[in-house]
């Protein structure tokens, strides 16, 4: 009996030891914990960035954890409540700051912030700079120039322009697309546009990106959109112009869009089944990585999202960012200093910059990068070309001012009901307005 009791007591001690122990690192190194947002480049962080940084700065260890796709917010929340929370994390814009008001640290005195070329791009809270963008992205209509050349060479084409570069307005785009739809067999494609993906989780290309030019035309800039208590959707007809054009000239009939994911759309483009797809430069890897990809690098190009807005020929593609880094003010001062050292190293040392350009493939907003230090993928180059095009200015990302995720969800569902034939377009517009007013009042 005594023996048994002793055994039980030992077991108890062991169990409480497990719960009480935790791990403490006494190797004298400071840990920098970076919670990465982009799953597609998770391997680059662990295989390239981590060893390079740790050999350059042996006093630090870099811990990189990557959240699963679409799970960043929930991962961040659970990580932040742990005893060893992330030092560096990502926020997606003003909404992300609002979610983390108690966590973000002031950054104005860091050398990382000093690298930022346009200081107006950083996000502030109560007079402190709290988030710094690290990658600029651009999106528009990606087209396959080989198919476009084939179309413009047709003897019976209905338009009088002769290359895709000459498309500078919605009227021209519509004329070209509809005429292409009439020549599908000659062009060897199954539809002009890739699927308008509406599978759950794949609606973001419409609820944020496509609506952005309409938001920009109404609000002007991000700060105005953020502060707006109401959204009139003044340019709803323009939005509908291009949305209907996508749907009516698509590889996928209206009834079927609910079964298509954005990855399907990218695959259709890569396989040469369609000529155009709306997406951004981050999709380059998806196109080039599709097995059986038939699109060559030099044929992948951008068109702006023309929808019949005023002065459209002087507007370019949508360029902006929702990739901001913030520091956790609850981390130790040593870890915060390490975080600054790490990011400054990554974005200004020669070794770091080479990794950013060649492996992480970011177009950065930092003054430490020269104009020729841009990633080698075709869409990043295109973004650069559009950003520097004469007489054309990029449309900033105003959609970061959308008041909540709920607005996007409601807007997406209204669009889906319109596609299913259960809603009129007026109901879609009304939903967008009502939801904005409700969400703006709830979250501000």
């Amino acid at each position: 009996m005594k023996k048994a009791l002793a055994l039980v007591l030992i077991a108890l001690v062991a169990i409480t030891g497990i719960f009480a122990g935790g791990s403490s690192e006494d190797s004298g190194k400071t840990e920098i914990y970076f919670l990465n947002f982009k799953p597609e480049i998770a391997d680059v962080y662990t295989d390239v960035v981590k060893p390079a940084f740790e050999s350059a700065y042996p006093q630090y260890t870099l811990k990189v954890v990557t959240a699963a796709s679409n799970q960043y917010q929930s991962t961040l929340r659970s990580e932040l409540s742990k005893s060893a929370p992330p030092t560096i994390f990502q926020v997606n814009g003003p909404v992300g700051i609002a979610e983390n008001v108690n966590t973000v640290a002031p950054l104005q005195n860091t050398s990382f912030y000093a690298l930022l070329a346009d200081k107006g791009m950083a996000l502030s809270l109560d007079g402190n700079v709290v988030a710094v963008p690290y990658a600029v992205e651009g999106y528009g209509i990606i087209y396959n120039d080989a198919i476009m050349r084939k179309y413009f060479a047709l003897p019976d084409k209905a338009v009088d322009i002769s290359s895709a570069d000459e498309i500078t307005s919605f009227e021209t785009l519509k004329a070209v697309v509809e005429d292409m739809s009439a020549h599908l067999d000659e062009l060897g494609i199954q539809g002009v546009f890739a699927s308008t993906s509406f599978m759950p989780g794949s609606e973001w290309r419409w609820t944020t990106h496509l609506v952005n030019p309409a938001l920009q035309a109404e609000f002007g800039d991000l700060a105005t959109a953020q502060a707006a208590a109401a959204f009139d959707f003044t340019y709803t007809d323009n939005f509908r112009n291009i949305f209907d054009l996508y749907l009516d000239n698509s590889i996928t009939p209206r009834g079927m869009v609910g079964s298509k994911a954005d990855a399907d759309s990218m695959a259709e483009f890569a396989l040469g089944q369609v000529a155009m797809v709306q997406n951004g430069n981050w999709a380059a890897a998806q196109i080039l990585g599709t097995q059986g990809n038939v699109v060559s690098d030099e044929d992948i190009k951008f068109l702006p999202l023309y929808m019949g807005l005023d002065d459209e020929e002087s507007k370019g593609i949508n360029v902006g960012t929702e990739n901001y880094l913030a520091f956790n003010k609850n981390a130790s001062p040593e870890a915060l200093e390490g975080a600054d050292t790490f990011l400054t190293w990554l974005y200004s040392s020669d070794e770091g910059k080479a990794i950013v350009t060649n492996d992480l493939m970011f177009i950065t907003p930092f003054s430490s990068f020269s104009a020729d230090e841009v990633p080698n993928d075709p869409l990043a180059k295109q973004v650069n070309i559009w950003m520097n095009k004469d007489g054309v200015s990029s449309i900033p990302w105003v959609f970061n001012g959308i008041p909540s995720e709920q607005w996007k969800a409601d807007f997406a569902q209204a669009m889906l009901e319109y596609i299913n034939g259960n809603y009129t377009w007026d109901q879609v517009t009304q939903t967008a307005k009502d939801a904005w007013a409700r969400e703006a009042s709830l979250t501000r």
Binding site: V8, A98, M199, M256, G258, S259, A409, N420
Partner: protein
């Protein structure tokens, strides 16, 4: 020995109690506390009273519509799963060759996780609906019946196994006596078999009822609530509330507390009701 056991009982129960407290009691109590707070991580909560409970119903009506959808779904699946599972169990307890193989086959869907099943059935059902140029998201009723089919496919095998065990335990002398007395198959079923397996019916009803209310993975993978929140069930609505707006974590928590109370109340009512029908063997 007995005396010693009684003396050391608290000590022996302690490890299990610690685990129970850590993984169930404390989170549950803390969850209840959080439902009265505004918080973003569980350590920075501030007390706001009943505001979260009010907001759960006033901001939008998705929670109530999710409740009705869940209730309809649960009623339909409880009936279909139990009838079909019982019928299969009856068929597979006869002396026909191959019953073991069929039992295994019917049980197998239950071994696949919910999210995977959701994806599989999404592909299957979308593939079927594609013939009519429709998808699961074209109409809320497709999503509803898709979920019902999925749930049946997953749960029938499991309930069937419970029923088979019960039917095999019906004393053969009772069945023999019934047949000597000239009872036909129908009478035997309703007068002998069903009253004898009542305890299993209680268990199966309880399981299907709570499974129906708690359904999450399958709902998420199959439709994710689309179109227009019309196929959103309670658990999914609670999850979505958490992440859809800044500052709505407490509202999600309040909904979760309401959800727990509803499910517990319904399950207890059902247990009390069917227990009364059980007969002593």
């Amino acid at each position: 020995m007995e005396k010693a056991l009684r003396k050391y009982f608290p000590l022996f129960a302690l490890p299990a109690l610690i685990c129970f407290a850590l993984s169930f009691l404390i989170p549950m109590v803390w969850g209840l506390v959080l439902s009265f707070c505004e918080f973003s991580t569980i350590t920075d909560a501030t007390f706001v009273g009943f505001q979260n409970y009010v907001r759960a119903f006033t901001v939008d009506n998705y929670f109530t519509s999710a409740f009705w959808f869940t209730l309809a779904f649960t009623v339909v699946t409880v009936i279909t799963i139990n009838i079909l599972a019982f019928a299969l169990a009856l068929a597979l307890t006869r002396n026909i060759p191959g019953t073991n193989g069929f039992r295994t086959i019917f049980f197998m869907p239950n071994l696949i996780g919910g999210i995977v099943l959701g994806w599989i059935w999404q592909v299957v059902l979308n593939g079927f609906l594609a013939g009519f140029e429709k998808t699961l998201l074209s109409d809320a009723s497709y999503g509803f019946w898709g979920l019902v089919i999925l749930m049946n496919w997953q749960n029938i095998g499991y309930m069937m196994v419970i029923y088979i065990a019960a039917i095999q335990n019906v004393p053969s002398d009772m069945l023999e006596a019934a047949s000597i007395d000239g009872a036909n198959g129908r009478t035997t079923l309703f007068r002998i078999i069903i009253p004898s397996v009542m305890p299993s019916i209680t268990i199966c009803l309880f399981l299907t009822l709570t499974n129906g209310f708690k359904l999450y993975d399958q709902n998420l993978a199959l439709t994710n609530g689309a179109p227009n929140h019309q196929t959103e069930m309670l658990a999914l609505n609670i999850f979505n509330t958490f992440y859809s707006r800044v500052g709505f974590e407490g509202v999600g928590q309040a909904k979760a507390v309401i959800f727990t109370i509803i499910v517990a109340a319904i399950a207890l009512l059902q247990l009390a009701f069917t227990r009364k029908k059980e007969v002593e063997n």
